[in-house]
Symmetry: none
Subunit: 246 residues, 2 copies
């Protein structure tokens, strides 16, 4: 569905920014770049900043007016740095990404970026169903064009991936198998014995320390390998020590 | 809370990228930039790319080593483009932002960005509690440094604005204060010494075991009290043992 999202740069002033946008798009799996009246383009600077995304630049389509770039699109969103009179609905990037990808199921959609200094004209905004606003620092709100494209492309990719992103976080322990309850309990028993042998555990109040240590290791969700390492350390620590007389 | 998030650039090669990161940070309301051994910095190119964020560059602190940049930090996350063999816990940017801001309630936290070509070394990753991975296009996954900083800064701002900084980890440690970076490093040094004294550490390959143990305790985010307990155990374990002859 990311292939259905058309990124349209309108009248870009600095060709380097076109390259930066191409790189940001390719990094996030987008591929369909359209340029409306780009200034000083094509240029070596655009290619240099595109880095490994020059294939995407080479396939970019150049148009003489915005309407030509929007042919076939059913949903058009325009990025806007500032609040305007409430003529257009405003979305945050995440909501915009969800709307674009929902619409992209049935055909191409477009996301417009205006000129570096002045953005999109009212006539261009008239082509948009809604505006997208990156909620930047009000005291310094103007993002570089490539940076704004990076944020929106990132949200589009995250939205596309979201279905399978949910499962991803399970891999926290690096793919190792978590230790089953009974192994962890044996580790705690071994730890308690060893602390007694080391004369560290207060025999009058053993539970307090063990509870604290359980709380510590309980937060980790130990793996099988980690339990083995920790028990190896305990065995070495106790070696040659005698259990104190009761 | 965004003021508590330290952005740490390690050994950046192109000073222009330092400026690009400063601009991305200021756009998103971040302000605390730290540079570890930046190449060719300060430079006119950094200032030019910072655009209106030169105040943030002027306040940036330059350090000679990473530990100096992390003093006082309770949570350290490292950005990483690729999967590693001995894996650290991996977060997506949104989850990372929630964890950083949750921890930032009680003090400074850090987000590390490595060198443009080679990222962070394993020794630098050892300082991290977890890694952050921007889920990029697998066929073209390397983001420009300023673009990666833009994505993470954006997620931090969105999280801050949404007020959904995870309650997660604050409650996990039972309201106790987390140990700062330098205390945890002293614990690791003590642990390594003790394991050597106990003859548990393989002197031919000390790093492998220590990296595994760092990964284990890194997931816990030790509190100050817990570090004290663990070091008390280490002291008892080493008592009466002699350092083996080299």
């Amino acid at each position: 569905m990311l292939n259905q999202v058309r990124i349209v740069l309108v009248n870009t002033t600095h060709p380097g920014n076109v390259g930066g946008v191409a790189r940001a798009m390719k990094n996030m799996g987008l591929s369909d770049l359209h340029l409306v009246n780009p200034q000083g383009y094509p240029s070596a600077e655009a290619t240099a900043r595109a880095s490994g995304a020059d294939d995407l630049l080479a396939r970019a389509r150049v148009h003489e007016d915005l309407d030509a770039a929007l042919v076939g699109c059913q949903l058009v969103l325009g990025t806007s740095a500032r609040q305007r009179t409430l003529r257009w609905p405003q979305h945050e990037p995440r909501q915009a990404a969800a709307e674009l990808l929902a619409a992209a199921r049935s055909g191409p959609v477009a996301l417009l970026f205006g000129r570096e200094r002045t953005g999109l004209t009212n006539e261009e905004l008239d082509r948009c169903h809604a505006l997208v606003n990156i909620p930047a620092n009000p005291e310094y709100s103007s993002l570089n064009l490539a940076a704004a494209a990076q944020v929106l492309s990132y949200e589009l990719r995250m939205t596309a991936l979201e279905g399978r992103a949910a499962q991803a976080s399970a891999a926290e322990s690096g793919g190792e198998l978590p230790a089953p309850h009974e192994d962890v309990e044996r580790f705690y028993a071994h730890l308690e014995d060893t602390l007694r042998v080391l004369d560290f555990l207060d025999p009058d109040n053993p539970r307090h320390l063990m509870r604290r240590l359980r709380r510590l290791f309980g937060r980790v969700r130990l793996t099988i390998n980690e339990v083995n390492i920790l028990r190896g350390i305990l065995a070495h620590a106790a070696k040659g020590r005698k259990d104190p007389a009761p």
